[in-house]
């Protein structure tokens, strides 16, 4: 039988609503679980136990009085440490923000709190979300729950590992180029990057504004639908958030997929792809075929340039976004030396890690006069081309399928010496960010005990299709 901390979110909500489960008992069980495993996994940077227990008591009181309970009532959630939480430290895994406690809640936090979710704590990540392994954290890496020699993926490694090992029932991460799908794949959980503009970025500490979205990580597809229902929707405080009619994503659960057309872009099954990954992903596609879907192999030529375009745009935006961390108004401040300029340089030199500095320098270079046209502007043009290619594909296919990660979870330290190799991991995930389309990673088996994920990409605002096909796959693989 399942232990109390292992339940899915929808089960918790159901049990608390009909009085079968005490919220306090369940939250306490989660904190016991954190105590038991997190010294090994290192998913959390900060736990907010007192606050969480108070909230759990309130929910129990509400339940006793028969008052209204929200759609996420009692659900214990972990939040990536780049999403601002009022009075809970938010560090971005960086020394530069190691003492930063926001005075406000991000819009998504307001929304999940309104639906009675409980925040357990803040999770580990690559510094400022720059990385694919959570090794670039000032506080040390998160360990893969399935193999303690391997990485959890990144940058939302803490959020994915916490859900995978049931230190949280669901979590929020952020996905700039695969930062939620990568660790979801490596940790054997589900991660969805929503359509750009569907979820408010207000309160998400920016890495690359035009690419990223706050993204849910869950144990099963039903939870995803409930969580997305809560966080999606227009927010006046984010000018890039779109005014779309809110969908009820739970209505896609269980719908059959007869006649569903799947495109399989060969560029996302590149030469470097691990053969075991290929095998499991194809197996999954055939499962969908058995359920009445059909697939066609296609080619999207422009994808060749996706990774280069992604890194130029992301680093350019990052170089400007991170300019504010000068230690003068908040955040880490080194000892004062001489004048403003020296103090400021010292604060940044000591506050940022190597990878962050590397990306700032690359981005600064790409935006410099004389190089702007050659790099930034060209990258934007490539982005437009890729979008056109995908638009064309989506005229013929409902979804596209590919491996989430071309490789299995790698060993800790394996790719730290070669940043380019680390960047190559994002090959299959970055296109969705470049075109603003929704994409999901769903577990599709494992090899040698290491989880493997399949990625589905749909056209913007078709999160419903992703939920529909993912649920069917989940259902089949569970049997």
């Amino acid at each position: 039988m399942k232990k109390i901390f292992e339940y899915s979110a929808f089960q918790i909500v159901e049990k608390i609503r009909n009085g079968e489960l005490s919220s306090l008992e369940y939250i306490n069980a989660l904190f016991d679980r954190i105590k038991e495993v997190d010294s090994k996994i290192h998913a959390y940077l900060t736990v907010a136990k007192d606050m969480a227990l108070d909230e759990a008591k309130e929910i129990d009181e509400k339940a006793n009085k028969g008052e209204h309970l929200g759609s996420l009532c009692g659900v214990g959630m972990a939040i990536k440490d780049n999403i601002c939480t009022e009075s809970i430290r938010t560090t971005c895994s960086s020394k530069s923000l190691s003492n930063f406690t926001p005075s406000y809640d991000a819009t998504v936090i307001e929304r999940i709190r309104k639906e009675d979710a409980i925040i357990l704590g803040k999770t580990n990540m690559d510094e400022f979300a720059m990385g694919s392994s959570t090794e670039y954290s000032f506080f040390g890496p998160t360990i893969n729950p399935y193999n303690d020699e391997r990485v959890a993926g990144g940058s939302s490694g803490g959020s994915a590992a916490a859900v995978a090992i049931s230190e949280a029932t669901a979590s929020l991460g952020s996905d700039t180029g695969g930062s939620v799908r990568c660790p979801a794949s490596f940790c054997g959980v589900i991660g969805l990057k929503p359509t750009y503009g569907l979820v408010s970025r207000y309160g998400l500490i920016a890495y690359a504004n035009s690419l990223e979205q706050i993204s849910p990580i869950v144990k099963d597809v039903r939870d995803l639908a409930i969580l997305l229902n809560c966080i999606a929707g227009h927010d006046e405080r984010d000018s890039t958030s779109l005014k779309v009619v809110k969908d009820d994503y739970t209505r896609f659960i269980g719908n059959d997929i007869k006649g569903l057309k799947i495109g399989v872009p060969k560029e996302l099954f590149g030469h470097g792809t691990n053969k075991h990954v290929l095998k499991r992903v194809w197996d999954a596609i055939h499962v969908l075929e058995d359920l009445g879907a059909s697939y066609t192999e296609i080619s999207l030529d422009s994808l060749e340039y996706a990774l280069a375009s992604y890194y130029i745009i992301a680093n350019s935006e990052a170089s400007s976004n991170l300019a504010r961390y000068d230690g003068l108004r908040y955040g880490f401040r080194s000892d004062e030396v001489n004048d403003w300029s020296d103090t400021f340089s010292k604060n940044r030199r000591e506050g940022f890690g190597q990878e962050v500095k590397r990306r700032i320098i690359l981005g600064t270079f790409a935006l410099s006069a004389g190089y702007y046209n050659k790099y930034y502007l060209k990258a934007q043009k490539v982005r437009t081309l890729i979008k056109k290619d995908f638009d064309k594909a989506f005229k013929k296919f409902d979804i596209l399928a590919s491996p989430t990660m071309p490789i299995l979870p790698f060993k800790l330290g394996e790719k730290l010496k070669n940043p380019l190799e680390m960047y190559m991991c994002d090959l299959d995930t970055v296109p969705a960010n470049l075109i603003g389309a929704p994409a999901i990673s769903v577990p599709c088996g494992s090899y040698d005990g290491l989880p493997i994920g399949i990625q589905f990409i749909a056209q913007p605002f078709k999160e419903g299709s992703l939920i529909q096909v993912s649920y069917k796959l989940e259902e089949s693989l569970q049997d």
Binding site: P102, S103, S210, R237, D238, T240, S316, S319, A369, Y372
Partner: protein, 481 residues
């Protein structure tokens, strides 16, 4: 000596907005405690996002229309990246006309006597914070930053180098500020609300930019200094370099900041947190409908309706607040000509002398019209009225109160004036004798009586009494002889 070409880059705050350009902080920060008008957005606290103030765009469009500029159908915000303590985010959200950027408006002109100064472009951006020093910049141990100003909506108006003298630059700025005042979008009398960079080049020399000019008066000064400096160099056969210079207001000199080889490195790129602003024809039309009377039409109307002199009308248009004040006075009292003379002459002169801003004076139109009525009714003399006016401006008291308190009412009493005249005759016997022959001496005697009453004696009455007395005196003399 060759031609001079001057171009200006005017930064004008949109002072009539209720909130900053990208957040809801209030804008009336002047005189408020430092760093009290700030929020997470304008302080660039991690995770916060800008939301464009639509009213700021409307005000900017109104200005662009009044300058005859072409409004873009779509505009973008760009980030201008540079590190400086006055920038909470270490970049400024601005606009850019290169790299695919489109600013709010391009083209247009401002008419000044005998020419049109062409506008190159108009753009919206956020004001940086204010940096102050303890004492002077050279002696201060640290810089103090007040972020109250950070994020205030700022309009940058760039002209073509169409002005040919520092004086012309000042006239242009006066006209521009009068236009903005008429639009009720920027009140240039607010400290630091209009600032200016200037560029100047002389035939045979390169273009020099002057930064940090805080007011219009300073613009003319700085340009005059720079003109002389460049002229002296040219005389010596040295050609001016392309450079940026800083205007030192205290020492009244320009100091070289940097020699320019190429464009400064600001790493402009489109602001990813904002979407392009679409400016529809319909939107522009509704803004156009709100266009108020502009300076040229205003002047014409003042001349036609009130029969004012063009000179007075000019001043009333340039000082829009005074112009409005004038019209309110003219509504209550039937002598617009006299009113305009008082306002343009004595009132404005006194304000300038005392360094008082128009909006600081404590009087209402009724003060002025009551005072004029008192003059016209012979209760006070014109000379006394000037004293009353000055007192009104300072204290805000009504003229009749001042007159009463200070005992300024005109003396109509025959008896009193006769007494005083006797006294003057006693003490000025020689002058009395002269006055029998000489008009001048008679005026001297009248003057002495006036002096004893501190100008309050009714002049006509005094005149009559002195004359009568002289005649009497003459008769007496004749009898004796």
């Amino acid at each position: 000596m060759g031609n001079i070409k001057i171009g200006l880059e005017v930064h004008s705050q949109l002072t009539n907005l209720n909130s900053k350009l990208f957040c809801s902080c209030p804008t009336d920060y002047r005189g408020k405690e430092a760093n009290s008008y700030i929020c997470t957005v304008c302080m660039g606290i991690p995770g916060t996002l800008p939301v464009l103030n639509k009213k700021a765009v409307e005000d900017a469009i109104l200005i662009a229309l009044s300058l005859n500029s072409k409004i873009s159908d779509k505009m973008y915000f760009f980030r201008k990246n540079y590190f400086y303590p006055d920038m909470p985010k270490n970049f400024q959200i601005s606009q850019y006309d290169k790299a695919g950027g489109i600013t709010l408006a391009t083209g247009g002109y401002v008419s000044i006597p005998n020419k049109k100064v062409r506008i190159r472009r108009i753009q919206i951006e956020e004001d940086p914070a204010r940096i102050t020093y303890e004492g002077t910049i050279y002696k201060s141990k640290s810089s103090l930053v007040d972020y109250n100003r950070a994020g205030i909506a700022l309009l940058e108006i760039v002209t073509e180098p169409d002005m040919e003298s520092p004086k012309e630059a000042r006239i242009f700025l006066q006209k521009l500020s009068s236009i903005l005042e008429h639009l009720d979008v920027c009140h240039s009398y607010l400290e630091g609300s209009m600032r200016c960079d200037a560029n100047i080049s002389m035939e045979g020399g390169k273009r020099v930019e002057i930064k940090n000019i805080s007011s219009f008066k300073e613009v003319e000064r700085a340009l005059n200094f720079e003109m002389t400096r460049q002229r002296n160099l040219l005389i010596k056969g040295i050609s001016t370099k392309m450079e940026t210079r800083h205007w030192d207001e205290i020492r009244r000199v320009t100091i070289s900041l940097r020699i320019k080889e190429e464009e400064e490195e600001y790493r402009y790129f489109p602001e990813p947190d904002l979407v392009p602003t679409i400016i529809t024809k319909e939107w522009v039309e509704t803004i156009k409908d709100k266009m108020p009377e502009l300076p040229d039409a205003h002047k014409e109307r003042l001349i036609k309706k009130y029969e004012l002199s063009p000179q007075n009308a000019d001043v009333l248009v340039n000082y829009k607040l005074l112009g409005d004040f004038f019209e309110k006075c003219a509504e209550i009292y039937y002598k617009p000509g006299a009113i305009s003379n008082w306002l343009v002459g004595d009132l404005l002169g006194y304000l300038h002398e005392k360094g008082i801003q128009l909006q600081e004076m404590k009087i209402s139109p009724v003060h002025i019209t009551k005072m004029l009525k008192m003059v016209d009714n012979g209760i006070i003399s014109g000379k006394i009225a000037k004293t009353v006016l000055e007192e009104m401006i300072i204290s805000g008291k009504m003229p009749e109160i001042i007159v009463k308190e200070k005992g300024l009412i005109r003396i109509h009493s025959d008896e009193l004036i006769e007494q005083l005249t006797n006294k003057v005759f006693e003490e000025n016997k020689e002058a009395v004798n002269d006055a029998l022959e000489d008009e001048k001496a008679m005026h001297y005697l009248i003057g002495q009586v006036m002096k004893l009453t501190k100008g309050r004696a009714d002049p006509e009455l005094t005149n009559k009494v002195v004359r009568d007395k002289l005649i009497e005196h003459k008769k007496l003399l004749e009898k004796k002889n």
